[in-house]
Symmetry: C2
Subunit: 605 residues, 2 copies
């Protein structure tokens, strides 16, 4: 992010109010008052390349520009409608490349939604839910060619997606191209998901956050999932994974994709398992491949593939305290054992690469054998699989498929660094995408925190994207509040990592908020906060009155004595402008330092 005078004039509070009322479901509407920011755009080399930013207007007339993931939903000039879907921002870019073709896609089937022909109720429910947006033909690489950002980058092309990302990350687009070409970063952007605002995942860029949503056999509905997606991106989710496992998987995904401004990831194995009624041994390469094509035609941007769970590794989990905790990993382990054969994902990996390359679906090579407890961290099963992911990464790159690698899991702090270092070495610096890691097992209901600790550390050390964990982890399915708590916690971890990595401009945000704090600009503190709504609520709990919003003290010390007020007095005490004071005090401090900084003599005893 950057601090600068507003590229657009700071809107008056009237404008703000109007804005807040217009924007359905924004933070502002929720808070019921102006929150002093609006959606702005930075234009690139062409009129249809406009990068969204969040412009926060400060009471001192300045503005702070923040990275924005919330999509058109927070733009008052755009009238969004979830039944119509978002505008296909990238469509012209994709068509202009001239390397893809529309074709008659795979016809949807009842079983795609887990519906038996004998189930009218299910059938009806499905019909009710069908996405009403305009019908569309799927698109793929002409002649099955690789239409991936990796292929373009290797050819030296800077695509509109790369330019968009360059502006978004305040970096030269050539850096974007070079990192993608080297396989150190990925741009998940399926040619069938033109609605997304391009983003990048790589260690040279801002650390990203993924939020998981998805209905299950036990609970939840399509509407809820779409709402969870927009809700998650509003609070800062950079990508969303749809892990639905129950009914209406196909239809839910269609609604989510058509309305999502961020890349969508899935685990195709989950839907494939539904198609065989949850009987892992009944899975086949054909069913899996058909599911991957079904999802690629819909526009899924990246897919978790557990091709590293190989027959010989399954026994390595027998001594574990918690065995296999990855759902995909255990499905493949069950299949391998049932047939006593090598994984069909591993055996058919090259063919899978060709499919993904023709849609630009990015691999997220899954860590099916990740540790599920502190006791199992960094064990033989985990690292044996990682070595295989390294082999698969090399193969995927040969097919021009963008690839990231998934990581654990449950890992105590002193064993975290080994994970990122080994992954970077074995996988030729491919982006690491980790779940947490959780740094202890003793706090169910607080695993957003046990894992936020590990996430911040592994992000600092080079992990490119952090998969959030909600308070419900291990206990239940996250509701709306849990999703928000998970996203906010992980945005904290990601930003703390950006600071520690010294990402250009990252600290400007902290500085802007700290300036507001020191100058008692309470409204600016709220508006710059990761969660303005809760910050304001907490302040008002103790000091509700409006005057308190401009008071030169807070509820911690009260009006009688305020520590930061003293600092202002200190400056006055030394007279002159702040610059003069600083200069004068600098001089004094240098004199003092020269004098040895001490009064007591060293004591020998």
């Amino acid at each position: 992010m950057t601090t600068a005078d507003a590229r657009t004039p700071a809107s008056s509070s009237d404008e703000n109010d109007a804005h807040d009322e217009n924007v359905e479901g924004t933070v502002a509407a929720e808070a019921g008052k102006s929150i002093g920011w609006h959606k702005a755009y930075v234009e690139g080399s062409r009129p249809d390349l406009r990068v969204p930013v969040r412009q926060v207007h400060l009471t001192n007339g300045k503005a702070v520009t923040l990275y924005d993931t919330s999509g058109p939903y927070t733009d008052e000039s755009i009238d969004t409608d979830v039944r119509r879907g978002l505008a296909p921002l990238r469509e012209n870019w994709i068509i202009a490349r001239g390397d893809t073709e529309e074709y008659t896609g795979r016809p949807p089937r009842p079983e795609d939604d887990g519906i038996k022909h004998t189930s009218p109720r299910g059938g009806l429910k499905n019909l009710d839910a069908v996405f009403p947006g305009r019908p569309r033909q799927p698109r793929r690489g002409r002649g099955g060619q690789a239409v991936t950002q990796l292929a373009y980058a290797r050819r030296g092309e800077i695509t509109p997606e790369m330019e968009f990302i360059g502006i978004r990350e305040n970096l030269d687009p050539e850096v974007v191209r070079a990192e993608v070409a080297a396989g150190r970063a990925v741009i998940p952007a399926n040619v069938n998901h033109p609605e997304i605002e391009p983003m990048i995942i790589g260690k040279k860029f801002l650390v990203k956050v993924n939020a998981n949503i998805g209905n299950s056999a036990v609970t939840s509905s399509i509407e809820e999932e779409v709402d969870k997606m927009t809700w998650a991106t509003k609070w800062g989710a950079d990508t969303v994974m749809d892990l639905s496992t129950g009914r209406n998987i196909h239809t839910t995904r269609e609604w989510v994709l058509r309305n999502s401004p961020v890349p969508i990831g899935t685990v195709p194995l989950y839907q494939a398992l539904e198609k065989v009624d949850g009987q892992a041994e009944a899975l086949t390469w054909e069913i899996y491949k058909d599911t991957v094509i079904e999802q690629a035609e819909q526009g899924v941007d990246y897919m978790t593939v557990h091709a590293g769970v190989r027959l010989p590794y399954v026994p390595l989990t027998a001594n574990r305290k918690t065995g296999i905790v990855s759902r995909g990993g255990s499905i493949m382990a069950a299949w391998c054992l049932a047939h006593h054969k090598e994984s069909f994902l591993y055996e058919n990996f090259e063919e899978l690469c060709e499919i993904l390359a023709s849609y630009d679906v990015t691999y997220s090579l899954g860590d099916g054998l990740r540790p599920g407890s502190i006791a199992d961290a960094n064990d033989e099963a985990q690292f044996a699989e990682l070595r295989t992911l390294g082999e698969l990464n090399t193969i995927a790159k040969r097919h021009n498929v963008q690839t990231m690698i998934e990581g654990p899991g449950h890992v105590p702090m002193h064993k975290i660094k080994e994970n990122i270092d080994l992954q970077q070495e074995i996988c030729e610096e491919a982006p690491f995408y980790t779940l947490g890691p959780l740094t202890t097992d003793i706090a169910p209901a607080y695993d957003h925190i046990t894992s936020g600790i590990g996430a911040a550390m592994i992000g600092w050390w080079g992990t490119a994207m952090l998969c959030y964990v909600t308070p419900k982890e291990h206990l239940g399915l996250p509701n709306r509040d849990d999703v928000k708590t998970g996203v906010i916690t992980y945005k904290i971890a990601a930003h703390a990592a950006d600071l520690a990595k010294g990402h250009p401009g990252a600290q400007d945000w902290d500085d802007a908020l700290s300036d507001a704090r020191f100058e008692f600009r309470w409204e600016d503190q709220f508006n710059l906060a990761l969660d303005p709504v809760t910050a304001r609520e907490f302040h008002d709990e103790t000091l509700p009155a409006e005057p308190a919003k401009t008071a030169h003290f807070c509820s911690m010390c009260g009006p009688k004595f305020c520590s930061m007020k003293i600092s202002h007095d200190i400056r006055r005490e030394h007279g002159g402008t702040q610059e003069e004071i600083a200069a004068g005090m600098d001089q004094k401090s240098k004199e003092f330092a020269a004098a040895g900084n001490r009064v007591y003599l060293p004591i020998a005893d």
Copy 2:
């Protein structure tokens, strides 16, 4: 903590219910159901030396013994009464040492409670609130001698307090003595606070957590503060600091001390400032000294003293983004500037040492110049003060005063380690006691998390005690829920640090919970959780039915497919006892490893 067969038979659910009804305000009472644990004691070399533990009874007949800070309040056999106070556990130990004398203490004065003689309302309020417990004479070292655990340890004496701690931490009492003698650990235990259950703060021991309470000019009451103290210790606070700044400071502190099973810390400067109506420049050494004696006679176990804020350092804060954010630090800075004289705390430090030594009050040398923002981390002002704290630490040790050093504050992850490394070097390994540190400034309302991240890391690297931060930090005063959230977050950070440090037995807790998770023992998962109440509530939100508490699946994957269930199948698949399976699988995996762990050949391109 240790895992072992229950020292006491697992109580029947009837006993538990009875227990839960009897114990006022326990977790159980709050949850409204049995939580399957009870208070037990490990006896030492004498009948009056009984170390409290929390015994969790598992459904598999075993029990897990956890460190317990909740005091007599969770012992159904003890009838506690906050108007009477706790039993003086250590009184006989202190008397038996024969080195202290009772004396007629300093008479309480209205101004001790911030009451003007002209204020009948305040006067009445004060009389109402006077602690009704039995009157007591204060005690001090006979002839002003040092009656500190440090003095005893240096003489080679293993006190009952040290034996108590040895049992509590599963370490040889001689290790306790040696660490205290070396100044690497402190046992805050004022001879006038016999009610405490001894605990230790040092890097060789479990990382401890402090919770701050305290009424202010703006809000809160005596009853609330006493309740916050028992509430905080119930969730795991190892010490509590009473930072009251409003009315009734003396009386509030008396109630808190007489009812506290953990050491109590204060910042005497706060009360001294109240005595001069908040006019920093009106402070004198005499008023401060009188306040320290007043508090020492009441039994305060450790005191934060900002003697490192020296006149020459004040100018070093002029260039800072957030100046001085420590209340004590800014009071002393204001005094130094107002008089243009060196700090009276620094000038009179040796006399202060003699006072503290005669009550065994432990120093917590305050970091009055700690950074209040990411921008100010590790700057000249902060480290100049730290060097002075190093000098003062040496002086305090010469007077046999136990000493710990306070640390920041706001520090980005990559600058945290320098803080602990420098402090350990400059302060001869005296225990470090840090506030957070907060790893970013952008998340007001979530600073328990921004700081929990830094706390876990600095704890791993050797910090002995972590001062909690609540969600209300920077915004308002913490309520009961905020105190709980702050303590739980910091217990997570402390335990994550214990794991990373490899503290003996620390992982047993994680292992016990992970075993319960893998074996679908839901009740055991709840009862072993840091917060059993919330863990159970979250589970029941999705799967309320009782059967779900024994179900071999959870709401994440549903009944159709459970990843951990597969792991059990894998074991069955390989037949035999778990040991045989493990052995057999080990063999297979070794063969596989010998074969090179790969199928694809390395690809060169």
